[in-house]
């Protein structure tokens, strides 16, 4: 397995989740594909970067900005389709968070990333992630009236 393939195997799924957390699965998948296409075209440069995945996340953000269409990011499936249970109010509330807050909350709490991993991907300080996370969770907890513990 060559270096680029290993890079793709490691980072593509993570980018897909991160971009889907930011923009919803439809746009997230498209943006990830664009980002990975960019990665291939510039593979030497990407592989030489300390944080190639973070760079590609920003490439994906740019792609998402180009591709963005009106409408909600997270659309609940038809009731007849059996899917993993999810709290509808949570989806609405996640839509209401800022993009950064949503990405931090979803990656850390839904996908068990470390805060440092999220910080690396977003290209921000650890403290910034902590702030986004705290604010996002506070909004969710207040709205859902759950324990702050």
């Amino acid at each position: 397995m060559d270096q680029f393939e290993a890079f793709v195997r490691l980072h593509e799924p993570r980018l897909r989740r991160a971009l889907s957390a930011a923009y919803g699965p439809v746009l997230g998948v498209e943006a990830t594909a664009d980002a990975m296409a960019y990665a291939w075209q510039h593979r030497d440069r990407i592989l030489a970067m300390d944080n190639g995945a973070g760079y590609l996340f920003r490439v994906g953000q740019s792609a998402a900005a180009r591709l963005r269409r009106p409408g909600p990011r997270f659309v609940l499936p038809e009731p007849s389709i059996e899917t993993p249970e999810v709290e509808p109010r949570l989806i609405e509330l996640l839509e209401g968070l800022t993009e950064s807050q949503r990405v931090c909350v979803v990656l850390v709490h839904a996908y068990a990333w470390t805060q440092q991993e999220v910080a690396d991907l977003l290209g921000v300080e650890h403290a910034t992630v902590r702030t986004h996370l705290a604010r996002g969770l506070t909004k969710l907890r207040n709205a859902l009236e759950v324990d702050h513990a």
């Binding site: 397995m1 060559d2 270096q3 680029f4 393939e5 290993a6 890079f7 793709v8 195997r9 490691l10 593509e12 799924p13 993570r14 897909r16 989740r17 889907s20 957390a21 919803g24 699965p25 439809v26 997230g28 998948v29 498209e30 594909a33 664009d34 990975m36 296409a37 990665a39 291939w40 075209q41 593979r43 592989l47 997270f74 499936p77 389709i81 059996e82 899917t83 993993p84 249970e85 999810v86 709290e87 949570l90 989806i91 996640l94 909350v105 979803v106 709490h109 839904a110 996908y111 068990a112 470390t114 991993e117 969770l137 969710l140 907890r141 859902l144 009236e145 759950v146 324990d147």
Partner: protein, 424 residues
């Protein structure tokens, strides 16, 4: 009162499910020409010019077709924006542009693409409401299905071929037609979702894995496929490249049972189930950590276990993905997974033919030949990919590359064994 943490984990699973659905239904594609490394400067210009010529030809012939098809048809409205070829009412609408191809199915009657198009477009099955392929690639005819070379950068310049609509496993000769840039096609993953059936091949310099076609005279196919048939049509080679075409089934089985499983040396799948053969797992691994309440059975006298592949995913149709795992012979674990009942899995397992000594030997030899490094690392608490790479003094990408059978997207499991890359 809601448990927010738990709800967010559920949301993650739900989002994964949505992502999977998007990946199957709407592969985002890239023109192979645009992903060539360091293409000549004039290539994009030539490609654009060629696309313009092609689309212009399609517009002309499409307008001609529309006119001939009588009532219910219409010609493209303008050269700049109307890249549509609209067939008779109730049939297929084919939209073709330099950057996108989309089909909206309205009937089961094949509608050929206009002359001059890069390939023949055929209808997707009638029960497929809509297929959108965002692609700058060239559609090609695949005996009743639409195949699109999409140039997805999933590795060493791989070119994916998405074949939509045929609803059956590809035939070997069909696969052999797909040798873009001199590469052989390998790997296939057939998945069915609400948007229809899609079969994906990955073009690469490897042999191919193909879902074995069911012989017309086979009385029990596909309920009880012959193992020889599975082996014959299964890659025995670069196990890493094969393993990624597997769904998360085996990973999930490992998580469910806690089993430590190695690279599959052979795999074959039917539409509803999948058979994997492993040689690097041991029965002790399984027995040591099999949950006490897991249902046990036997397969031809071998102790076997039923396990739910994953309690939270793939619930469409109301049936969960189950696995039946047993040790066929010392050091060789076989697993059948599928959205089937216990009885169904047991019937498949019982119906598999036991391979001859030569066949087993060839499998094992092939697997050993491709074992990159016998050195392993056992995952401990709080390990992550990065942590392990740091411990071993290797690059993260090398570590991932040395473990092609482990999905880096999934959680590592304590006790899981990872191969150590040979060079830091």
């Amino acid at each position: 009162m809601l448990d927010l943490d738990n709800e967010l984990v559920r949301f993650g699973r739900w989002l994964d499910d949505r992502i999977d659905a998007e990946q199957v239904g709407t592969p985002v594609a890239i023109d192979r020409r645009s992903v060539q490394r360091r293409p000549p400067l004039r290539l994009p210009i030539l490609a654009a010019a060629a696309a313009i010529v092609i689309v212009a030809a399609m517009l002309v012939t499409g307008a001609h077709r529309a006119t001939d098809d009588g009532p219910g048809t219409q010609a493209p409205s303008s050269a700049a924006t109307a890249t549509s070829v609209v067939g008779p009412a109730g049939t297929t609408t084919v939209n073709v542009s330099p950057v996108s191809t989309s089909l909206t199915d309205g009937s089961t009657t094949p509608t050929p693409a206009p002359e001059g198009s890069p390939g023949q477009l055929h209808l997707v099955p009638a029960d497929v409401a809509s297929v959108d392929i965002s692609t700058r690639a060239e559609p090609i005819d695949m005996r009743g299905g639409l195949a699109v070379l999409v140039g997805r950068p999933s590795g060493r310049g791989f070119t994916d071929v998405w074949w939509i609509g045929a609803g059956r496993p590809p035939q070997p000769e069909e696969v052999s037609e797909l040798q873009p840039e001199g590469r052989r096609a390998f790997g296939s993953s057939a998945r069915i979702n609400e948007r229809g059936t899609s079969v994906r091949f990955i073009a690469a310099p490897y042999t191919e894995t193909i879902s074995p076609p069911c012989p017309p005279d086979a009385p029990l196919c596909p309920a009880t496929p012959d193992l020889r048939q599975l082996i014959d049509s299964t890659v025995i080679g670069d196990t890493g490249q094969v393993s990624w075409t597997l769904p998360t089934g085996m990973v999930e089985i490992a998580r469910t049972t806690g089993a430590v499983l190695g690279s599959p040396i052979a795999s074959a799948k039917d539409g509803s189930y999948e058979v994997n053969i492993y040689t690097t797992a041991t029965i002790d691994d399984l027995l040591a950590i099999v949950p006490a309440d897991i249902e046990r059975t036997s397969v031809r006298g071998h102790e076997a276990w039923f396990a739910m592949v994953s309690p939270m995913v793939r619930l469409r149709g109301g049936q969960r993905v189950m696995a039946l795992t047993w040790e066929e012979r010392p050091g060789t674990i076989v697993a059948v997974t599928g959205r089937l009942s216990h009885e169904g899995l047991a019937a498949i397992a019982e119906g598999l033919r036991v391979a001859t000594e030569e066949e087993w030997a060839s499998l094992v030899v092939a697997a050993e030949a491709h074992a990159p490094n016998p050195a392993t690392y056992t995952v401990v608490t709080e390990d992550t990919w990065q942590v392990i790479a740091d411990k071993l003094g290797v690059r993260l990408q090398d570590l991932v590359g040395a473990n092609p059978d482990v999905d880096p997207e999934k959680f590592l499991v304590v006790g899981q064994r990872l191969r150590v890359p040979t060079s830091p």
